[in-house]
């Protein structure tokens, strides 16, 4: 640094929570604006690119994730109340949900097993090690449940958190393409599958299809959290036995 004042300023900014908090908001909103401007082109997914841009900025400035999180935790904290808030759309769609019990009861265990099974088998076949496979297995479940499951089964919880986010981004990016290809037009089916396979990020995407889709997605997050917590400890040892 040429000017000591600038160096001093940077020392302050890099350590104060304010800077990274503000930057996270600015980066996300700029990318979200671009995304909306380009007719929600899936590849411009604002979550994906916000992560890429912020991670690049952290590397370039040599900032640790811990000091970044000092600021970003205020956004992260809102995930809890936002999860609680999912009760509101769910309540408004309760009649529809009640009428769909049979369809959801069949789709839930099937989707839950496929989400974990396909990923573990493919990654194992492509040579990923055991701890990566276990960490991958709860990838479709919402972060807090997924980390708990991963730890219980012998995975790396923080690595699982990363896989969970990537899964959510993938679900959001591919949603329209999948629904168009398979001619899925029922909002309830769209929402339920997105919440089940891509948790909160899928739910955020589902709300863009409509409130019915959003409500079914929000419900699917919780249901798949439960289903995976019960089914995965049975499924995973069977799958891992093939790669030992």
């Amino acid at each position: 640094m040429t000017d000591p004042k600038i160096a001093e300023l940077w020392v302050y900014l890099a350590s104060a929570p304010l800077f990274w908090l503000a930057l996270t908001l600015v980066v996300y909103q700029a990318l979200n604006w671009t995304f909306l401007r380009c007719n929600r082109m899936p590849l411009l997914n604002p979550v994906l690119w916000s992560i890429v841009v912020l991670a690049a900025l952290l590397s370039l400035t040599g900032t640790s994730y811990e000091s970044y999180f000092e600021g970003a935790q205020f956004i992260h904290f809102l995930l809890g109340p936002a999860t609680v808030a999912l009760a509101v759309p769910l309540y408004r769609q309760f009649d529809q949900v009640r009428r769909a019990v049979v369809a959801l009861g069949v789709a839930l265990p099937l989707g839950s097993l496929l989400a974990a099974g396909v990923a573990v088998v493919l990654a194992g076949w492509l040579g990923a090690d055991r701890s990566t496979l276990v960490s991958l297995s709860p990838k479709s479940v919402t972060t807090p449940i997924a980390m708990g499951i991963s730890e219980k089964l012998g995975g790396v919880p923080s690595l699982t958190a990363v896989f969970v986010i990537l899964t959510g981004v993938i679900g959001a990016v591919f949603a329209s393409l999948i629904f168009r290809t398979l001619r899925i037009r029922d909002q309830r089916a769209m929402g339920f599958s997105l919440g089940l396979a891509a948790h909160g990020l899928g739910t955020a995407r589902a709300f863009q299809f409509g409130e019915t889709a959003g409500a079914f997605a929000g419900m699917a997050i919780g249901l798949n959290g439960l289903a995976t917590a019960v089914l995965l400890p049975i499924l995973l040892p069977i799958l891992l036995a093939f790669f030992d």
Binding site: N32, V47, L58, Y68, A72, I75, H76, L78, L79, G80, P81, T83, V84, A85, L86, A87, Y91, D95, Q96, R99, V102, L104, V106, L114, A115, G117, V118, A119, V120, L122, L126, G127, T132, L136, S140, P144, I149, L159, A161, V162, I165, L166, T167, F174, A175, I178, I184, D186, Q187, R188, A189, M190, F192, S193, L196, A197, L201, A204, F209, L226
Partner: protein, 120 residues
Amino acid sequence: MLGAITLLLLCQLAGEVLVRLIGLPVPGPVLGMVFLFLFLLVRHHVPEPVERVSNTLLDHLSLLFVPAGVGVIRYAQRLEDAWLAITVSLIAGTVVAIGATAWIAQHLMPKPHDPKGDAP
């Protein structure tokens, strides 16, 4: 407004406490969602401030995942080592799960009440 924020946080708090007390496998906020849902069932309607606060939160749900996602930088090495296996399995697992679940659900779903609710 303040009341609604407090209500959401109290639901979450009750969820977190109960999960720890009985050792449930679900996260606290998910149980908190169940509590808020029961509250709305008893009240028979969504109070306007609760509606406003929850809409604000859910409108920006995507943003809330960014801080956790940036955590990817801590695992750069492992991701680099197994990037092919991870990329292929994450994409295939997610696409297959969404496609199969949506397809099955759509075929078993009863006709919707409201035809508008079924529009893409």
